[in-house]
């Protein structure tokens, strides 16, 4: 298939791997920020094919995983209000919140006891639901990074132009560069480079990562999601790390421009403003979240349903936070594969297809 098979060519992969073997003359450790990368690396078996000198750690790039349990609790509370339809992307329905065992602790459980939770594939579907259910309140659960947020912004703008009175968004969106800073500032993991998230960077632009070489002396290679994309990015990082010349290298030229997607950026600025946000594993990170601007207040589910949500707790023993910061690999968590499995997930990293724990368990690394 065009634009796919070229990036999965086994012969080319072998060539790149052989090159890496020669060039990585000392041990290096790179973090792939994005859960999509973690998934692709494990699925293709790249991790075991890389030379012993090159280690990859997964980062916080799974939007489902970094949603704080308080966010899930709030979504469950909203979904259970009379007359509410909660529209969400599929992965979110299985993520456990912070309620004790025996209580309704996920959207899937809320749905089983009567809440109207609907899986949608796009915010436009959520708008359709609002149009055809005018007597009910439709709340869209806005989860995701810079990749997804513009589509939610577009839906809000559309809802405003149609004067849809029954549509609102619970914005739990997160921004990736501040989270990367938080990880580097914490200094818990010694990294030699960052594999930049391809889809996110197609929106924010490769330039948005310039702070990594400039402020942290950290090489960054923006990567696509096919095995050869990732190998190319690793090769670029090895090159920069060995030469001691950190820069931002765009290895995803077919999707990413230096300036990114300006239209999407404008849309984000129009609808959202930047606020502190709570991340699972990272705590509250300054300037890392998106909230609706005052002009769009009527589409903000927080303002429309000012419901108290009890303080919630992370599940006992769950080390998703450490996994999200790259401090431990999933198998190092005592619950991994024993208490916590994809069928009975304790933490969110075991739920999402992009979660590192689910990927490690699924592919048996």
């Amino acid at each position: 298939m065009k634009f796919l098979d070229e990036f999965r060519d086994p012969a080319l992969a072998r060539k790149l791997l052989a090159g890496l073997e020669c060039r990585a003359t000392r041990p290096v450790r790179f973090m792939e920020f994005c859960g999509g990368h973690t998934h692709a690396i494990l699925r293709s078996g790249l991790r075991q094919l890389l030379p012993a000198n090159i280690r990859l750690s997964s980062g916080p790039g799974c939007p489902v995983c970094v949603t704080a349990s308080s966010g899930i609790d709030r979504a469950i509370t909203l979904a259970r209000q009379p007359g509410v339809i909660l529209a969400t992307f599929g992965d979110m329905i299985r993520v456990p919140g912070g309620r004790p065992r025996g209580q309704i602790n996920s959207l899937q459980e809320a749905r089983a006891v009567g809440a109207d939770v609907r899986i949608v594939y796009s915010t436009l579907d959520a708008l359709d639901i609002a149009r055809s259910n005018s007597a009910r309140e439709v709340i869209f659960l806005g989860v995701g990074f810079e990749t997804t947020a513009p589509t939610i912004a577009a839906a809000v703008v559309q809802a405003e132009s149609e004067r849809l009175p029954n549509f609102s968004v619970l914005s739990l969106h997160k921004l990736t560069p501040p989270a990367t800073r938080a990880i580097l500032d914490a200094g818990e993991v010694q990294l030699s480079g960052i594999i930049g998230p391809g889809h996110v960077t197609s929106i924010i632009g490769a330039r948005a990562w310039q702070f990594l070489p400039e402020e942290y002396g950290m090489p960054c290679a923006v990567s696509g999601f096919e095995p050869l994309d990732i190998l190319q990015a690793v090769a670029a990082l090895v090159e920069m790390a060995m030469a001691g010349k950190p820069a931002v290298s765009n290895q995803y030229g077919r999707g990413v421009k230096p300036e990114g997607n300006v239209v999407a950026q404008e849309l984000l600025k129009r609808v959202f403003h930047i606020v502190p946000a709570e991340w699972r594993g990272l705590g509250v990170v300054a300037d890392s979240g998106l909230a609706l601007r005052d002009e769009y207040r009527s589409f903000d589910a927080l303002g429309r349903f000012p419901l108290p949500v009890e303080a919630s707790q992370e599940p006992v023993g769950c080390r998703c936070g450490d996994v999200l910061r790259g401090v431990i690999a999933p198998p190092e968590c005592p619950l991994f594969g024993r208490v916590c499995t994809p069928d009975n997930p304790v933490g969110p990293c075991m739920v999402s297809g992009e979660g590192a724990c689910a990927a490690f368990l699924q592919y048996g690394v």
């Binding site: 298939m1 796919l4 999965r8 086994p10 992969a13 072998r14 999509g36 494990l42 699925r43 293709s44 078996g45 790249l46 075991q48 094919l49 939007p63 489902v64 992307f89 599929g90 992965d91 329905i93 299985r94 899986i119 594939y121 989860v143 995701g144 990074f145 990749t147 997804t148 889809h199 996110v200 095995p227 499995t341 994809p342 069928d343 999402s352 297809g353 992009e354 368990l361 699924q362 592919y363 048996g364 690394v365």
Partner: protein
């Protein structure tokens, strides 16, 4: 029928029910056993010495009712016929239970029933008994129509197929390209259109199975990779037989349209449902003969060997990736959900 829509009275057991049975079900199913209109179908079984009876049941709730390459009626016959075929049984008779939602159009019902009749003829089975219930509008979620079919078949003497029979050294054969049924349904539900054709592979496999058993009577196990897809089926066999299975990623045929749709929705074709494919575990010595026989049958033209049964990692399936790495191929967990970004 004079009415256009199913109403509650069609399930009351009274005159309207009788009209429905006579003018829709009996008219299309054309079974002498059904035509007696007694409470049960009654027949004298002809069971050769050493043969055994097989019985199975399955319920069909697919939505939408009609999809490229098939419909719920065809699925309800083929699915149950295939379950019988997978234990080596020759399917004989089916029952058909219908739950109709008030407001279902008769045109749709008739289309489904005609399709069932056609599939029954194609697979050589007879629908000999049935039941109809009508539920209030909304109780079937607006889907309109659920079907349950049960089937009875005869397992010929000497045939013994089971998921527990796989032995180290056996080969794994797949009858053709995977993922077509699941992706045909999913893309239709999501309103996605592709320039490449994407049709359900729904088909009765009993003819193919008969051909295979003639060529290789020592076949150990047959399984149709429906819900959960190929990956889940292989895991079931590895678990039941307490053996390891190793498959080569590059040898598994995935049609381009399925790959494209999977890429778009973030799904893995190895977990997507099929309705007209089978996996066979055969002794290595019979591999070529069985493959040749399969390729001579219209439903097995693209049959291919995809892996082997190994002594290591009992109960688990390992995939050799096209890049030359090896990783676990796990069972499907939860439901198939497209990813966020």
């Amino acid at each position: 029928m004079s009415d256009s829509f199913v109403v509650l009275a069609h399930g009351s057991g009274g005159r309207l029910t009788h009209d429905l049975i006579r003018e829709v079900f009996a008219r299309h199913f054309r079974s002498p056993l059904l035509a007696t209109q007694d409470d049960s179908a009654v027949w004298s079984p002809v069971v050769p010495k050493g043969a055994r009876l097989a019985m199975t049941t399955d319920s069909y709730v697919v939505q939408p009712l009609f999809f490229p390459g098939g419909d719920i009626g065809q699925l309800a016959v083929c699915g149950t016929v295939n379950d019988l075929a997978m234990v080596g049984a020759r399917p004989l008779y089916l029952s058909a239970g219908f739950i109709l939602e008030e407001g279902l159009s008769f045109a749709d019902l008739e289309r489904v029933v005609q399709s069932m009749a056609r599939s029954a003829t194609d697979s050589g089975v007879e629908i000999v008994t049935g039941d109809t219930k009508v539920v209030d509008r909304g109780r079937a979620g607006g889907d309109g129509l659920f079907i349950n079919t049960a089937g009875v078949g005869i397992v010929p003497p000497g045939v013994s197929l089971s998921g527990a029979n796989a032995r180290v050294g056996d080969r794994v054969i797949l009858s053709g390209p995977i993922g077509m049924h699941g992706m045909a349904i999913m893309t239709l539900r999501e309103g996605l259109r592709f320039s490449l054709p994407l049709e359900s592979d729904c088909a009765p496999l009993n003819g193919l199975v008969e051909t295979m058993l003639e060529a290789g009577p020592s076949i150990r196990c047959l399984r149709d990779p429906t819900r959960g897809g190929l990956a889940t089926t292989l895991n079931e066999i590895a678990g039941q037989s307490r053996v390891g299975i190793e498959v080569d990623e590059g040898s598994i045929p995935v049609p381009e349209a399925v790959r494209a749709a999977c890429e778009l929705l973030g799904l893995d074709a190895l977990y997507v449902a099929n309705e007209g494919k089978l996996v066979a575990i055969v002794p290595a010595a019979d591999e070529e003969r069985v493959l040749e026989a399969m390729r001579g049958h219209p439903l097995g033209q693209q049959a291919t060997s995809i892996g082997r049964v190994v002594p290591d990692h009992a109960g688990r399936v390992v995939l050799a990736t096209t890049l030359g790495a090896r990783r676990v191929l796990d069972m499907l967990s939860g439901a198939l959900l497209p990813r966020i970004c």
